[in-house]
Symmetry: C2
Subunit: 363 residues, 2 copies
C-alpha cells in the first residue's frame, strides 16, 4: 500500500516522496487558521498496490501498540475554539478595514425549547465575540409554513446576511425538508442542503459548505496529527446533521469507514477494531470501555441532557461515550460538555466568514 502512495505523491504532489502523514502536514502548513484543506486536495488517485492485486500470502491484521506509550489526552474544546475564534476575529477586522464589510449570520428559531434557546444564544454570543453581525428571528410555535418561508426568503435576499440557519428540531406541523431547502444554498452555512451533501460525498467535488460537526471532527484529527488515511474509522449513528456528513468526510480523507446504526449487529466488536471512533447515537454512555480499541481517538458528538435537580438548569449533559471507562483505554477523547460543542460553533463562524469572503470576492 505504502509503495503505491509514494509513487502517487512523487508524481502528483511533490518531487520527493512523502508518506501520507507528511503529505497532510504539507497541506496543513498552508496559512489557514483551520486545518481542513480543500476537499479535492485529499482525493487521492485510486492506486491499488501490487500486493493487494497479486497477494503473495493472505495478510494478517496488524495491532497498534503505540497506544501503550501514549497517555490519554482529554481534548479541551474551549481552548481550540478560542484559538480559531481569535483568528476569525483577526480576519474579520482585516475585512472591515479593507472593504468596510463584516460577515452576517441570521438565526431563525421557532417556538420555545430550552435546549434550542441555549444553542442559539451560544451561536449569537460567538458571532458577537468575533465581529459577525447577527440577526435573530423568533417565530411562535404555531407559525405557518408560509410565515417561516417568508422570513427565510427575506434573509436569502438580504445582502448583509451571508449565512442563514434554522434551529432544529422544527415543530411537527412544519416540513423540515421544505424549510431547509428554502434556505439559499449559497447561504446554507449549516451545509445541510442535499447539494452540499452530494458534493461532500462525490470525490473530486468541493461543497460550498461542509456541515460544522464534520469540519469539527477533521479539525480535531488534523490538529492532533492523527493519520486518517488508511485508518479504520467507525461512526456510530447516522443523523443527517452529524453522523452522515462525518462518515462522508472521513471517507473523503481516505479512512476505511464503517457506519454503525441501530440495526447493526454486534456494534461493540466493529467499534473495537476502529482507530477513530465518532459517537453520534444520542444514547447516554452507549459506548462502553470494552467497545474501544486501546489507543483509539474518540470524538464524542453526543449531548444528552440528564435530569439533575442539583444543576442550575435542572439537568446536566453527558455524551454517548462512557467517559470514565474510555479514558483508561484511548489515546484521546473529547469530554461532554466542553469537547466538540465549542469547536462546532466556531466552525459555523468559519463557514459564515467563508461565505462572506466568497460573496465579497475577498481573500
Amino acid at each position: 500500500m505504502r509503495g503505491a502512495l509514494l509513487v502517487w505523491y512523487r508524481n502528483n504532489v511533490t518531487k520527493k516522496p512523502l508518506d501520507s502523514y507528511s503529505y497532510f502536514r504539507t497541506l496543513m502548513s498552508m496559512n489557514r487558521f483551520i486545518k481542513c484543506p480543500p476537499l479535492t486536495s485529499v482525493d487521492l488517485q485510486e492506486l491499488w498496490s501490487p500486493d493487494i492485486i497479486n497477494p503473495r500470502e493472505p495478510h494478517s491484521p496488524k495491532t497498534n501498540n503505540s497506544a501503550k506509550e501514549k497517555t490519554t489526552s482529554v481534548i479541551e474544546g474551549k481552548a481550540i475554539a478560542k484559538d480559531i475564534k481569535s483568528q476569525i476575529a483577526d480576519e474579520i477586522n482585516g475585512m472591515k478595514r479593507s472593504i468596510g464589510k463584516v460577515p452576517g449570520l441570521a438565526v431563525i428559531i421557532i417556538g420555545k425549547r430550552s435546549d434550542s434557546d441555549t444553542f442559539v444564544d451560544l451561536k449569537l454570543k460567538a458571532c458577537d465575540r468575533v465581529g459577525i453581525a447577527s440577526f435573530k428571528a423568533e417565530l411562535p410555535e404555531d407559525c405557518t409554513e408560509d410565515e417561516l418561508l417568508g422570513v427565510i426568503s427575506d434573509f436569502n435576499l438580504n445582502p448583509s446576511v451571508h449565512g442563514v440557519i434554522v434551529q432544529l428540531p422544527l415543530p411537527k406541523h412544519l416540513s423540515e425538508e421544505k424549510v431547509m431547502s428554502a434556505v439559499s444554498a449559497e447561504k446554507d452555512v449549516d451545509g445541510f442542503h442535499p447539494l452540499h451533501i452530494g458534493n461532500l460525498a462525490i470525490r473530486g467535488r468541493d461543497p460550498l459548505f461542509i456541515p460544522c460537526a464534520a469540519r469539527c471532527c477533521i479539525e480535531l484529527l488534523l490538529r492532533y496529527d492523527v493519520q486518517i488515511m488508511g485508518k479504520k474509522a467507525v461512526v456510530i449513528g447516522r443523523s443527517k446533521i452529524v453522523g452522515l456528513p462525518i462518515s462522508l468526510l472521513l471517507q473523503r480523507y481516505n479512512a476505511t469507514v464503517t457506519v454503525i446504526h441501530a440495526f447493526t449487529k454486534n456494534p461493540e466488536r466493529l467499534t473495537r477494531e476502529a482507530d477513530i471512533v465518532v459517537a453520534d447515537a444520542g444514547i447516554p454512555n452507549l459506548v462502553r470501555g470494552h467497545w474501544l480499541k486501546e489507543g483509539a481517538f474518540v470524538i464524542d458528538m453526543g449531548t444528552n441532557s440528564i435530569k439533575d435537580a442539583n444543576c442550575p438548569h435542572g439537568y446536566h449533559l453527558v455524551g454517548d461515550v462512557c467517559f470514565k471507562e474510555a479514558i483508561t483505554k484511548v489515546s484521546a477523547i473529547t469530554p461532554v460538555p466542553g469537547g466538540v460543542g465549542p469547536i462546532t460553533i466556531s466552525m459555523l463562524l468559519t463557514n459564515t466568514l467563508d461565505s462572506a469572503k466568497r460573496m465579497y470576492k475577498f481573500s
Copy 2:
C-alpha cells in the same frame, strides 16, 4: 436487536409483528415491476435495542451456517433484464394508448471509444425494444465545451426528451463536473447530479433518480430475497457512478456498510466478514476466493477488457471477482459478462419511464 425491530413494525407498519424479511416482502408485494420501493419507506426509526444500550455480556459474533445448505446461484442478468424490459414495454404501451406519448432518452457521445460505442449501442437498442424514443448526438473528440453544453441545453428544453445522458469518460479537455451539472436534474436519469446523490445519502429523502448500478444491486438482492437490513455489506471501490451510490443505497436499506478503497488496509479480511459483497474496483480478479465468506452474495460490477486475439472484438471481459474461486464458496454471484450489465441498462430504461410518467403526471 430483533426485539426493537418487532416493536417498530408493530407500531408503524402493520398491526401484527413482522421481521425485516417479511417487511421487505410486504414492500415488494406492491404491484411494481421492479422491486425497489420508495427509499423513504426503508428509513426505519433508529430504535436502539436495550441489550445494546445496557449489555448483559459482551456479544459474540454469530457465524452463518445456512450457506452450507445452499448451492451457488449464478445470476442470469439477461433473464432478469428481459423480465423487467417486457414489463416496461407493457407500461409504455399503456401510456401510448391512454395519452399518446412515449418516454424519450437522449444519449450524447463525444469522440470515438470502442467501449463507449458498445455501451451506447446497447442502451439505444434497449430503448428501441421497449418503445422508448431515443435521440443520439455524436460530437467530435475535439468539440468545445460550449458546443457540448449547447447540445445538452437543447435536450433539456426538448419536451419529448425525459432523460439525458452523457456517455463517460469525457475527453480530457472537458470538465466532467461542468458538463454533468449542465444536464437538468429533472432529466438526469443516470442520477449522478449531486442533488440526487445528496438525497440518496440523506435519510428521509427520495432522490428523483437513483443511479442505475445502485438500483441494479438492490433489485438483485430483493429478487433473491436476500435480507439486507443488519447484514454486513462491503463495497469494494468508490467510483461516483457505481461504488458511492451503491454504498449509500445499501446504507439506506439498513445494511452495515464498509467501503473499501485503495488505501484500505487488509481489504481481504474486511471482505471476508461481509454477507453482501459488491466489487467495483476495476481490477480484474481482485477479489479472490480467500476474500469471501462462505454463503456471501456477490455482485460483480467490474467490466475489465482483456486483450484476446481469439475474440471477435480483440478483447474479452472479466470482472473484479475471480469467478472460478468465488463460485466454490458463495451463495450467489453475478458473472461477467451477462450479470449486472443487462440489468443496469434496464434500470436506465426504468428511470427514463419514471421521468416521463412524472412529467406527464401519468401513473
